[in-house]
């Protein structure tokens, strides 16, 4: 009988206890794998979201972020405006590859949420918008017929939600303006899917902000010029420059803080699992004191005993690791659903991406966990003196 079958046989003696210990390890590993999967998935989705915004720099009006956020969340306009002249001045810069003006506007829709009201989002855009987003394709219809036309292009999801097709009307609540839908974008997995787009001039007129913008999206010819470009624009009065790389960094920093906490919890879970494993194996060693004594008396070396106990511990952790990986793979969707409902900002796409790399890493992590957890019980077992062990066992 070889070492592995002896170890397996020993574990099978107390099936419930072994199963519970394996379960504890599995849960700890599943939490760990899910967290790593979240880390990978969130970064990937966020990169995708930001890349699909189409620009690297966003110019907005200066203002207090807290005030703006509060007003926006309360349903007011809340957005800061800058003069369209800024766009005209900036657009002449030779370093710019593509540039587009935007006017984001919100309207309070009393018909939403069973008559309790909610916010609808609109964006005034110019012809240049599509040059920054070449992946935006029309599912049906086409671009606005004129910059002053009372027309709208709808994102895929908002069109689906409002059951609009090309030629249908939409109402801008609160403004009582009726627009004709001329186009519907294909789903592109970004925030554009939920937005109603209007010609910029029409949006300025309807929302009573003539010659005003909320943002200017810019893509540079050479990204290496970004710092100098930002520096130059800081001299423009009343505006602020947002590099989307910084936005990405800020969001990731915010998530990192939360991640540090959850990682700590996962680490505690792993430590508890290790303690559980040590405890189980120690109990098993104490229960088998006389047996170990007999084994030594008939010729088993210290190393033999050490290896048997060590392999038992490693088996528990390996089984737990495999089970934990399976649990994480099966529960990934559920975790993603919970995260999306809890996180203040969840990018589109899969938030939990469990890669083969993560699975391999967690598996070997479990093996190492087993090897470490087994050291002390194996040492205790191998240190027993045969006569004393047999006597104690009696």
């Amino acid at each position: 009988m070889n070492l592995f079958s002896v170890a397996l046989k020993n574990l099978a003696r107390k099936k419930v206890r072994t199963a519970l210990t394996v379960g504890g390890v599995a849960i700890a590993i599943a939490v760990l794998v899910s967290l790593w999967g979240f880390d990978t998935g969130y970064q990937r989705s966020l990169n995708n979201d930001i890349d699909k915004m189409g620009y690297q720099v966003l110019v907005t009006a200066k203002g207090c972020p807290y005030e703006a956020a509060t007003l926006m969340l309360q349903g007011g306009g809340g957005l800061r405006y800058m003069n369209e002249d800024v766009y005209k001045r900036i657009s002449g810069d030779a370093r710019i590859d593509k540039i587009t003006p935007q006017l984001v506007a919100t309207a309070y829709d009393p018909g939403k949420q069973s008559g309790r009201g909610g916010i609808s989002l609109y964006m005034g855009i110019a012809d240049s918008y599509l040059t920054l987003k070449p992946w935006s394709k029309f599912k049906s219809g086409k671009w606005f017929s004129d910059e002053n036309a009372l027309e709208a292009i709808m994102g895929y999801e908002v069109a689906e939600y409002e059951q609009r097709s090309v030629g249908d009307k939409i109402l801008i609540p609160g403004r009582n303006e009726i627009l004709t839908v001329v186009g519907i974008f294909e789903r592109n997995g970004t925030q554009d899917d939920g937005i109603v787009f209007l010609p910029l001039k029409v949006a300025q007129k309807i929302f009573e902000v003539p010659d005003k913008l909320t943002g200017i999206g810019i893509k540079l010819k050479d990204m290496a010029q970004l710092s100098k470009f930002e520096e130059d624009l800081y001299n423009e009065p009343g505006i602020q420059i947002i590099s989307l790389a910084q936005v990405k960094g800020t969001i990731l920093n915010l998530v990192s803080s939360a991640k540090a906490m959850t990682n700590s919890v996962a680490l505690i879970a792993v430590i508890i699992a290790v303690i559980g494993v040590v405890n189980t194996i120690l109990m098993s060693v104490f229960e088998r004191t006389s047996e170990i004594g007999v084994m030594k008396a008939i010729g088993a070396s210290r190393l033999d005993i050490f290896r048997i106990i060590w392999v038992e511990t490693t088996f528990i952790c390996v089984f737990g690791g495999v089970l934990g990986n399976i649990m994480a793979l099966l529960g990934g969707k559920t975790i993603e659903y919970i995260l999306k409902s809890v996180l203040p900002y969840a990018p589109k796409g899969h938030l939990v991406v469990i890669t083969p790399h993560i699975l391999t890493l967690s598996f070997f992590g479990a093996v190492i966990m087993g090897l470490v957890a087994g050291l002390y019980p194996a040492f205790r077992a191998s240190s027993m003196k045969p006569i004393e062990a047999i006597r104690k066992g009696e």
């Binding site: 972020p65 018909g111 689906e160 939600y161 059951q163 009307k169 109402l171 609540p173 009726i178 602020q240």
Partner: protein, 219 residues
């Protein structure tokens, strides 16, 4: 100072991004916004509810669609009333007894989706009617209790007799001045709602009344 300004700038962008992304929309099925709260409001005596999801696809496919269209007297929108649209049904319980159903449908209106929610007794008689969502310049008139209460007590049979000038539906007047299409859409949505309820949950209890009305028409 510059750092502080940069942090503010980044925060603004982050908040805008959060806001923009939170205003995305969900699937095209019509579910209650807050089932626990809404059901308690409609059926205060209820002790619980269970939710079922059905699609025409799984309950009979193209054949069932044709049957529903025939009863409805109108074809389904090929894009927004496709076979795989999920319909959610809330079966309202008091202890172990079923005391009613709540079901909503999305109906295409003139300016956007109308979400029509019906509460019925176990036989399919309307006990409550309201719009979860309505986009119309005259939305308030449609939401007016004086109008919505007119649907209470109606059954699918009344809707099958829609064309009857002396029928109960004919007695319901359009509350709007400029949104006649939305009124018609409301009647269509309510009738569709009741037909689907009858098909999915009531084991076609009202089939006889449909055949009766149709035979009358052929006489």
């Amino acid at each position: 100072m510059e750092n502080k300004s940069q942090i503010s700038t980044i925060l603004i962008a982050t908040l805008i991004l959060c806001f923009v992304c939170s205003v995305s929309f969900a699937a095209i099925g019509c579910e209650l916004n807050d089932p626990d709260r809404d059901i308690q409001k409609i059926f205060p005596q209820s002790t619980g509810y269970k939710t079922d999801y059905f699609t025409i696809q799984e309950k009979g496919g193209e054949k069932l669609k044709k049957e529903v269209e025939e009863k409805l007297g109108d074809a389904f929108d090929p894009i927004y009333e496709s076979l795989d649209v999920p319909y959610s049904y809330y079966t309202i319980l008091k202890g172990k007894d079923v005391i009613g159903y709540v079901h909503g449908v999305n109906q295409k209106g003139t300016y956007g989706t109308l979400q029509i929610i019906l509460a019925t007794d176990p036989d399919g008689k309307i006990m409550g009617f309201y719009y979860q969502k309505v986009s119309s310049p005259e939305a308030l008139k449609f939401r007016d209790k004086a109008f919505t209460d007119k649907f209470i007590g109606l059954t699918l049979e009344d809707f099958y007799k829609y064309g009857d000038p002396n029928g109960k539906i004919a007695a319901i007047k359009d509350p709007s001045q400029k949104s006649q299409e939305d009124f018609k859409a409301t009647i269509r949505g309510t009738k569709k709602n009741l037909i689907l309820l009858d098909t999915f949950l009531l084991n076609k209890k009202h089939e006889g009344s449909y055949k009766g009305v149709r035979n009358d028409e052929y006489k």
